[in-house]
Amino acid sequence: MKRIYVNEKWCLGCHLCEYYCAFANSGKSSMVKALKDHKIAPRIRIEERDGISFAVNCRHCTDPLCVKGCISGALTIVDGAVQIDSDKCVGCYTCILSCPYGALSTSNEGAIQKCELCMKNAFGQPLCVQGCPNKAIVYEER
């Protein structure tokens, strides 16, 4: 399955992936409408320190601890990608306790949010990867 992989040494720390992610999942028609005056809550995040930076998002584990530990069944594997049904999620944070990558975060709606590889939004392909100016994240089979 295609996944998002990180090339740490190419990362500029520009945070564009975070903005593209927030836009892709906003349901809005333009980046300006989605992001202007909003505090963004992206599902990919940049860690940075002392000139090192890299993006972290869900690894779509083949053996996902978040799915196994979810108390409501909100997290499932759909065609290899780990998806969340926010309607079922009760916000217990057991998945935050379980994920070794820190890849899930709380969302404004009280439920949990995570990268779903843009499979459920209008783009169908990870927009963060398309927006990265330096190929520091790629979407490919490895």
Partner: protein, 413 residues
């Protein structure tokens, strides 16, 4: 191979999914006393709180889960005895179900200590099952006018409190222990959480117990009394081990299993709340009655029953719970060297021992806590990472570049 599972909770689901990861064909039969399609047991408090519905609860696995997995269900039926020689499970209604491989996933039941006068209390319940939640819901009624007494300030008692606090006139929680969540929290974080819950109108009576009941009054050891309309007994749980013991499996407080989830009797496996786990954080054997553990043990059992070589040897106590808006995540053991960070809204304690992270408690900000959990679970030597960065917050920056390349660049768990 003909598989039989007793119980229909998370451990059973793990077993089914584990079997089917290896064997798509062999028939599976699930026998369970509760008459429902599998549901997430921890959701019963969220049901009362209105954060989920019965319909959604029952979608812990989709409606076609059994059908898709070739599972025959015998729901609302109780297993009485396992005959390991004839390899059959005998049910209360006289039926008997033959097996080649059996998994016992019978969970636990509420422990109700003998208390004088308890029989005379009419409106009372435990808090373990969907039926308990419905019963409590009916007793509370629609008018927010009931006085409720909960015995037990452990996770189940407090989750119950969270579920109903907006629907009662008065809510009191009593526990013999001097602090809330005695099994999960140390003193300081317990008192932070207690203050928060008290601010929502819940009253705690700690270090006290009920000496005797009158129908609507609890007379306390300390001399006082609490009047109530509805009583919830959430003192603790006891593993359902009788079937396993009767079949000759070695049982201590729970059923003994190895890392493959096999019991000491051939072709009988066991998983979930009814078993004893090896807690690698404290290096002791204990019952870990938590849902993720039930799944892992079940999945391991299922795979092994179907002939695979799976092991689950990374069990640790861990818990994520929110109480009335304040979140807490805890894991591992608190015995070791401690690192504490605390301000008004947040509390974070890290515990290390022998160059390993062995436990943590986070209240308030729980962002990315799973990175800490993974350090405990994988027993990562702390001198192989940047511990100052890990102390600051859970972050992958603390790992070496090479380790990060593995984590983010292609090898995934």
């Amino acid at each position: 191979m003909n598989y039989v599972i007793i119980g229909n909770g998370t451990a059973a689901v793990g077993t089914i999914e584990g079997i089917r990861a290896v064997d798509r064909e062999g028939p599976i039969t699930v026998i369970s006393e509760e008459p429902y399609h599998v549901y997430g047991r921890p959701l019963i408090s969220y049901l009362l709180l209105g954060k989920t519905t019965e319909e959604k609860m029952l979608q812990y696995r989709p409606a076609d889960f059994y059908e898709k997995n070739g599972v025959k269900t015998l729901l609302g039926r109780r297993a009485l005895k396992v005959d390991p020689t004839a390899k059959a499970v005998h049910l209360e209604d006289g039926a008997s179900v033959p097996y080649d491989r059996l998994c016992i996933c019978t969970g636990s039941r509420p422990f109700v200590p003998p208390m004088e006068g308890l029989d005379a209390v009419e409106d009372k319940t435990s808090f373990m099952t969907l039926d308990d939640a419905k019963h409590l819901d009916a007793m509370l009624g629609e008018h927010n006018d009931k006085r409720v007494l909960i015995i037990g300030a452990g996770l189940i008692g407090l989750k119950c409190a969270e579920g109903i606090y907006q629907r009662v006139r008065e809510l009191t929680v009593i526990d013999l222990a001097p602090r809330i969540l005695p099994n999960v929290l140390t003193e300081a974080p317990a008192s932070i959480l207690q203050k928060h819950i008290e601010s929502k109108g819940v009253r705690f009576l700690l270090g006290d117990s009920v000496q005797r009941f009158a129908p609507h009054t609890a007379h306390l050891q300390s001399g006082g009394a609490v009047d109530f309309d509805v009583l919830v007994v959430a003192v603790g749980v006891r593993p359902n081990t009788e079937l396993a013991a009767g079949a000759g499996c070695e049982v201590e407080r729970g059923i003994l299993t190895d890392a493959r989830s096999a019991t000491t009797v051939p072709d009988i496996y066991a998983a979930g709340d009814c078993t004893v786990s090896h807690d690698i954080a404290a290096d002791t054997d204990r019952i870990l009655a938590i849902l993720p553990n039930a799944y892992m043990q079940g999945e391991t059992a299922g795979r092994c029953m179907a002939g695979d070589d799976a092991v689950f040897d990374k069990a640790i106590p861990m818990n994520a719970s929110g109480f009335m808006g304040l979140h807490m995540i805890t894991a591992g053991s608190y015995d070791g060297e401690t690192y504490l960070e605390q301000d008004e809204a947040h509390y974070k304690l890290l515990v290390t021992r022998d160059n390993r992270l062995v436990g943590f408690i986070m209240i308030g900000d729980v962002d990315r806590a799973g990175i800490y959990t993974s350090l405990i679970r994988d027993r990562v030597p702390l001198d192989s990472i940047d511990f100052d960065l890990i102390r600051e917050k859970p972050q992958l920056m603390a790992f070496s570049r090479a380790e990060r390349a593995k984590k983010l660049g292609g090898i995934h768990g």
